[in-house]
Symmetry: C2
Subunit: 328 residues, 2 copies
């Protein structure tokens, strides 16, 4: 990994640019959307012409964030930018195919991220794996260099930080995380309203999915593995939309006997998306996912398998059970 640039170099590059694209990874989560908009709104307040672009747009559960109406999806027209900034995106390809094609024309690329696997694919890089969220890196960058921070910027960066720390519960959360939120509250940010919008306003169809999960979850390996198959018919009946299943796996993770949980989900093309979580640091679910062409982190990993879903689940769970029994 190349050495990080200084934050001064990165801010200088932002200040000298005129037309800037800010992007993040495909299937964007709260940290991706919040970081892109937090930075984009600050740079706009600085007088820059900023394109906030996400390959897959903004998921419905994050549409409440200020500035989401200005997020565009990539077209084919060149962007005419003099700077591209990729946020929260571990590999350059993860910005999405169309987005990457447009960014390739930019004379300068900045890569800001907290994923430890990020190789530093920018001309300037700021990879800080000790931070729980890219939004936290952005906040410290803006506040450290006196870039504009208003309530809309705070809202976006708060959501980035809050979602990537599981509401301050994950081990990545640090003391600075809490101090940033305190600073934001001092400045008037209504964090309770944001928490309500992000954590406490699910469509009823999400509870229908959860109901199906609780009615059909399956245990094996003496309760140490729990899994659920989310089938197309259930998604259709519930009218499922992107974002609806986000965090459902955490409900399975909470079961005290469980060391590994898996959700299998029908996706287009007769394929199955596998999402797996480990609760025991000795159990590496990414190794199991790798057996099926997937990967990720030790404790959270995914794969795509050929359907039908029952057969995929059977194969994956056998491999997983083998690993679970090894840590006995």
């Amino acid at each position: 990994m190349p050495a990080n640039s200084t934050t001064a170099e990165i801010v200088a590059a932002m200040r000298s640019a005129q037309r800037i694209a800010v992007v993040a990874h495909v299937r964007p989560d709260g940290d991706a959307v919040g970081s892109v908009l937090g930075l984009a709104l600050s740079l706009r307040a600085l007088g820059k012409d900023v394109i906030a672009m996400l390959e897959d747009g903004v998921p419905a559960n994050l549409a409440f964030l200020p500035g989401t109406d200005t997020v565009i999806q990539p077209g084919t027209e060149p962007l005419g930018i003099d700077l591209a900034i990729a946020l929260d995106t571990a590999t350059h390809e993860r910005v999405g195919e169309k987005t990457k094609a447009l960014l390739d024309a930019a004379p300068l690329l900045i890569d800001i991220d907290h994923h430890p696997a990020n190789p530093g694919y920018g001309a300037l890089n700021l990879i800080v794996p000790t931070e729980p969220a890219t939004g936290q890196i952005i906040y410290d960058l803006l506040s450290g260099h006196g870039l504009p921070i208003d309530d809309a910027v705070r809202q976006n960066l708060f959501i980035a930080i809050s979602t990537d720390t599981g509401s301050f519960q994950y081990s990545s959360t640090n003391a600075r995380t809490h101090r940033i939120v305190a600073e934001m509250m001092d400045a008037g940010l209504d964090t309770a309203r944001l928490a309500q919008l992000i954590y406490q306003s699910y469509p009823v169809r999400r509870l229908e999915l959860m109901r199906d999960m609780l009615n059909h979850m399956e245990f094996r390996a003496e309760g140490r593995i729990v899994s659920w198959q989310l089938k197309q018919a259930v998604m259709d009946a519930a009218g499922m939309q992107p974002g609806d299943t986000e965090g459902l796996i955490d409900t399975l993770r909470m079961i005290d006997s469980v060391v590994a949980c898996v959700i299998f989900e029908d996706i287009p093309g007769g394929k199955v998306r596998v999402s797996s979580r480990s609760k025991d640091s000795r159990l590496d679910v990414s190794a199991v996912c790798a057996q099926f062409g997937g990967g990720g982190h030790r404790m959270a990993s995914g794969a795509r398998m050929r359907g039908p879903i029952e057969a995929a689940a059977d194969k994956f769970l056998q491999a997983l059970e083998h690993e679970v029994r090894r840590i006995d």
Copy 2:
């Protein structure tokens, strides 16, 4: 409400006492248990002889907290104390009948709480309704006056604060809340471990209760009210234990159409416990609970009604629907 005592007066009373009982309310939650043990462990470190007493003992989901093995339930033997301290308990009676009988012999009673309805029933009172948790008041009391704070004290006070703020999501959370957690983390507290123990390790029987809730929840007033009746037969089948239902109502609160949610629960003596939540500041659920002899906060309130549960639910929901339609 009598004026608050100064924290200096309260700390002086603690310092001059030798044998101290620290108690909290019946059916103790995280703030009750965490505040009692946080203060008790600090006073023990100061050399005091401290009785940590809870009428109903420590619920299973909080048993991981350091010091819970020293918590006793009230007997009939006099305590021989020279100071009693009631924490997080809005009325003197709420410490429980047996506990109250034992406390009545104490020459001095201190009442520390954050419930706005607390009348200040102690000889010394510290009622701070702007704080999100009694645990936060205790932390500031200890740190402000140099009383002992070690990791065990921090663990208890962190759980008190984290649970009473819904992991920093409720509107009662303030900037000081986050700064306290940052201080605790600076001192080495492993908040992620505690969050995992309190939020991410539910017995499977809790998911069985959640499943029953999702299968039997009922909507009315165009989806603005959702309710669930937790019946004795379901509790028996799941092998329910105290603490298992804690937070279940939040899952109902999350539904975006909902402005009020209610759980009715069979309790001994043919009675029904009502727990209600409002999501709209114009809707005061404590006013509805007051119609049935209950009370609490505007946004979170409870009552006890005569069974059978179906009839109680019907009466309560009619009154609630009347209030919900008034805010249209």
